[in-house]
Each structure stands twice: as structure tokens, then as C-alpha cells.
């Protein structure tokens, strides 16, 4: 049935108004301090089971286990020992940022208050650059600068490695990680603490 022109335009105006109202209402219902997008924030502490490669949960678990074991062991020291982080070797076949693991261990140990950390090899360039800038640039008041030759040597160093054993069959891939860490007395060369963390991840094809 064909409506007369005036009625048609009335219906289309009403439909347009309905569409506009619905859009406005939807916009109000979806309000919040966000800009709408297809990105969602997840839980950084959740267990990640996306693949069987080294992941965030492995990093967090290792750092936590090593830091707590070391903190407990060093709690016996009469004063907070000065420690430095040496190299943690990646002996696995995949890329693992071992620096990230040791950084997490250091953060937890510093927050726990059981030890102090000296500048490690990775940070020495920045340390010396800063001392040179303060003492030799001529820009700083000498009474307020950090003096050269006053750095404290670490009593202990932390070093270790991470290895993996990968096994593949038709249906299953099994990856076994072992993270080992030792604390060595820099003067005597004795190993004062050692611990390791093992992780197994299995995936089915």
C-alpha cells in the first residue's frame, strides 16, 4: 500500500528520531572513564597459558622463589650485606631476557629490606658518566658533588643460568626449565647460597 508523500516523510522523520535516540541512549549506557576501543586491560598477575614458551608467569614465579629463598638465607647476617648482580646466562634455545628476571629479584629483595645492592656491570657506565659529569664538567658546586673514589664494593655477587630440555612427540611438546642461582662471596670465592627453580610446561597439539 503506497502512502501519500506527506505521511511518508512523517514516518521517515520518526524513524530517524528513533535511531538518534537509540544511539544516544547506547552511548549513555556504555559510559565510563574510557575511550571506546578494542583493547582490554588484563590481570598482570594471572597465570599465562598461551604457549609453552617462557612467559610472564614463569618470570614471576622464578623471581619470587629466588628472592624469598635468598632473603631468608641472608636474614641471618648481622647487617644488610652489599650485593651485586652478575650475569645470568641463558642456556636455552629460546630468547629469554634474563636481565628482567634479575631485575625482579632485585626489586623484591630491596623492598623486603634484607640486602643492599651495588651498581652492577651493566650500570657502571652510567655510574662513571655521572661521577665524571659532577666532578669534571666544572658545572657543580664542589661541596655538593658525589666524590670519585668513594664507591662501595659488593661483598657478594649473584649469578646463575637458565637451561631447558625440550621434548617433542607427535601429540605432545614438553618443556622443562631449570633456573639456578648462586651467591658467591667476592673475597673468599665461597658459594654462600644456592637455589634452583624447576618449571615444566606441557602442551598438546
Amino acid at each position: 500500500m503506497k502512502f501519500p508523500q506527506s505521511r511518508q516523510s512523517l514516518i521517515s522523520a520518526k524513524l530517524s528520531a528513533l535511531v538518534v535516540a537509540t544511539t544516544l541512549l547506547y552511548g549513555c549506557a556504555a559510559s565510563g572513564p574510557t575511550v571506546q576501543s578494542n583493547v582490554t586491560y588484563g590481570d598482570a598477575k594471572a597465570v599465562e597459558q598461551v604457549t609453552n614458551e617462557f612467559g610472564s608467569t614463569d618470570l614471576q614465579t622464578i623471581a619470587e622463589a629466588m628472592a624469598r629463598s635468598l632473603a631468608q638465607s641472608m636474614a641471618k647476617e648481622p647487617t644488610k650485606p652489599l650485593v651485586t648482580i652478575a650475569e645470568v646466562k641463558n642456556k636455552t634455545s629460546e630468547y629469554i631476557d634474563t636481565r628482567s628476571i634479575t631485575d625482579s629479584i632485585r626489586v623484591q629483595l630491596l623492598k623486603g629490606g634484607t640486602m643492599r645492592f651495588a651498581t652492577d656491570i651493566a650500570g657502571m657506565q652510567n655510574q662513571t658518566d655521572e661521577l665524571v659529569r659532577q666532578n669534571q664538567s666544572g658545572l657543580y658546586k664542589q661541596s655538593g658533588t658525589a666524590k670519585t673514589g668513594k664507591m662501595q664494593g659488593a661483598k657478594y655477587r649473584i649469578e646463575g643460568n637458565i637451561t631447558s630440555i625440550v621434548k617433542n612427540s607427535k601429540d605432545v611438546k614438553d618443556v622443562f626449565y631449570k633456573f639456578s642461582l648462586i651467591l658467591t662471596d667476592n673475597e673468599s670465592g665461597t658459594i654462600e647460597w644456592a637455589d634452583e627453580k624447576e618449571i615444566r610446561k606441557t602442551s598438546k597439539r
Partner: protein, 127 residues
Amino acid sequence: MKSKLWSLLAGLFLSLAVTVPSAAQSISDKIEHQGTSRYIKVTGLISKVSNGFLQLQVELNNTDYEDQKAFYRVKWLDESGFQVWDDEAWKPLLIHGNQKHNVQIMSPTNKARDFRIQFNAEKNWAN
């Protein structure tokens, strides 16, 4: 005489009813279950202070014949119940069928004097 005896027995019965909390009740005070676990039960919990750090040992019992997975983490509190450490990462657990598994946990700071274990089993009863 008989009424005195009955009174005595009633008193004894009442005194036994009002007792210190049972071991199971103390464990439940320390565990925050996320859902009702179907197969994994927390059957033991002991704590001690070693070198100023709180140490826990939790016994988990898998009542099923198949392997079961669960996740846990700990909230560390001081004497007044204030949280003294950031939220930890969740740790995965695999408990074999009919296995009793001990989980040993060390506190990250010597400020921790109390704790709550958040526990999440993969298989829960629907609420």
C-alpha cells in the same frame, strides 16, 4: 541425687560444646576460596617464624583419581590486618590423583605476621 547427677552431666556436655575453634575452622579463616573446589581440599596448615620471616606449609589433598589443577597466592598482612606486600602473581599447581601435596610458602618481608591464602581450583562446584 539423680537430679544433681543429671545437672552435672548437662553441665559437662555444655562445656564440651563450647570449645576452642576446631582445626578445620582455623584453616578456613586463613583460606579465601574462589568458588567451592570439587576435588582439592585444604587439609592442613601450619606456620612458623624462621629468621624473622613467616613460613607456611599448606597440605592439599586431591580426592579425585585424576590430576587436578589449582592456583594460589598469598596476601601478607601485619598484626593489624594491613596488607604489607603487593598482590602476588598467581602460582599454578598440579596435584596428582589421590595425592596429598605440601606447598611451602615464605613471606617476602619480615613485616608479615598474618596471611590469607587465595585459592582457586580449576574444577569448582557451580554456585
